[in-house]
């Protein structure tokens, strides 16, 4: 019965969570850096960031995973396991999406504030640290929620490189028990519960920290 496999399911769900958080936090750093580079950087930096973003946003996660897991070792000679390859790919992928969100948020901080800060004699670093980023973080939460949801669901693509996360495990359980209907319903339910609760929490956080009157509209598509 399904209950016999509960250990595997819990374990694999934890793997899914870990991958999601690795991808999100790595993507957060990459996203902020490339957003800053895109807004304040010179032409050369912008072209590089543009190419990076277009590549990771334009191609499917599955192909990226396959590329990094199978081709990258051949190219560089570095051997890595599916966990590292998956984490790195998710970070790069998420970074490309988060760059767009952070860019929107950074640009939403009004120019007047920057001028005021400069006239007070603040350095660029100080302006970034005290004026731009605190506001950008609060503005970005709704779009960031979307990214969290889509990345969390995308972790199911990790099954193509054989990482033992929720979808992979449910595939093998379904193959062993011959009860695919029950297994996949359960899998779907787990994902659904997890995502719904996360959305509720993030929305609550946003409602507490949002800046009244300074909301940017989230894109119509939660992609």
């Amino acid at each position: 019965m399904l209950l016999d496999y509960i250990d595997f399911i819990v374990q694999s769900f934890v793997t899914t969570l870990i991958m999601t958080f690795l991808g999100l936090s790595g993507g957060l750093v990459l996203g902020i850096l490339s957003a800053l580079g895109d807004v304040y950087g010179n032409r050369f930096i912008r072209i590089i960031i543009g190419a990076y973003v277009e590549f990771f946003r334009g191609s499917p996660l599955i192909v990226q995973l396959l590329l990094f897991y199978f081709s990258f070792p051949v190219l560089t000679g570095i051997k890595w396991d599916s966990f590292t390859a998956g984490a790195v790919t998710l970070m790069l992928n998420s970074g490309a999406y988060q760059k767009g969100y952070f860019k929107g948020a950074i640009e939403a901080v009004s120019k007047d504030q920057l001028l005021a800060a400069r006239s007070l004699g603040m350095t660029s670093g100080q302006i970034l640290r005290h004026i731009v980023l605190p506001q950008a973080f609060r503005i970005v939460i709704p779009s960031w929620t979307n990214e969290y949801v889509s990345l969390g669901l995308s972790t199911s693509a990790l099954t193509v490189i054989g990482l033992r996360e929720l979808t992979t495990i449910s595939k093998s359980i379904a193959a062993q028990t011959f009860e695919p209907l029950e297994v996949y319903s359960l899998t779907g339910l787990i994902y659904l519960t997890w995502i719904s609760i996360s959305i509720k929490i993030l929305n609550y956080i946003y409602s507490r920290v949002k800046i009244p009157g300074l909301e940017i509209s989230v894109g119509a598509v939660p992609s």
Partner: protein, 181 residues
């Protein structure tokens, strides 16, 4: 769907639930559910190709209903009041006032939805459909080189980017032309 949502409250609750389910489950799990779970009861899902299409369709439906709902809400209330005062029926208002404007507003969203669909079609890889990603995988296994994946990624980029950016530009061009927000 978005239209139904505005019409009745009960229908809108049901659709809300549908939306949330489709947005909360990976499309891959939906595919697996259809192809392996339901195939025993509904023979048509034995074909992985059809399972893929239906799974993508179900989810895209949820996403698109959101896009259109947002677009319809962006049509201002004043216009509807004006239409009512001109004696137009509900159907006429939909047909002549809301739909034409909502479509323009929805264009950028539709563009990224199409791009998303093209990218997510690669999930059919897992069901064994011979799509671009699968071909790249076969080629990689045969030739032991990394080019097939890179090429596949490049092809996906070459397909999705122009579509998304074209609809985005078309949308904003039409918006400016007709003076929509």
């Amino acid at each position: 769907m978005a239209i139904t949502k505005q019409l009745s409250r009960k229908a809108s609750t049901i659709l809300e639930v549908y939306d949330n389910i489709m947005r909360g489950i990976p499309v891959l799990v939906i595919m697996l559910f259809l192809h392996f779970g339901l195939a025993a009861f509904i023979p048509i899902f034995r074909d992985p190709f059809i399972s893929t299409i239906i799974a993508l369709g179900l989810r895209s439906c949820a996403f698109q209903s959101q896009i259109f709902r947002g677009a319809m809400n962006s049509v201002s209330r004043d216009q509807m009041l004006a239409a009512v005062s001109l004696g137009m029926t509900k159907m006429q208002i939909f047909r002549h006032i809301i739909i034409p404007q909502a479509f323009i507003v929805a264009l950028p969203g539709l563009g990224s939805e199409i791009a998303l669909l093209i990218k997510d079609s690669s999930y059919s890889f897992v069901l064994g459909v011979l799509d671009l990603a699968k071909y790249a995988d076969i080629l990689r296994a045969a030739q032991k080189s990394f080019y097939p994946y890179l090429l596949a990624a490049a092809i996906y980029v070459a397909i999705t980017l122009p579509i998304a950016s074209y609809l985005d530009r078309l949308g904003s061009a039409l918006k400016t032309k007709y003076g929509l927000r």
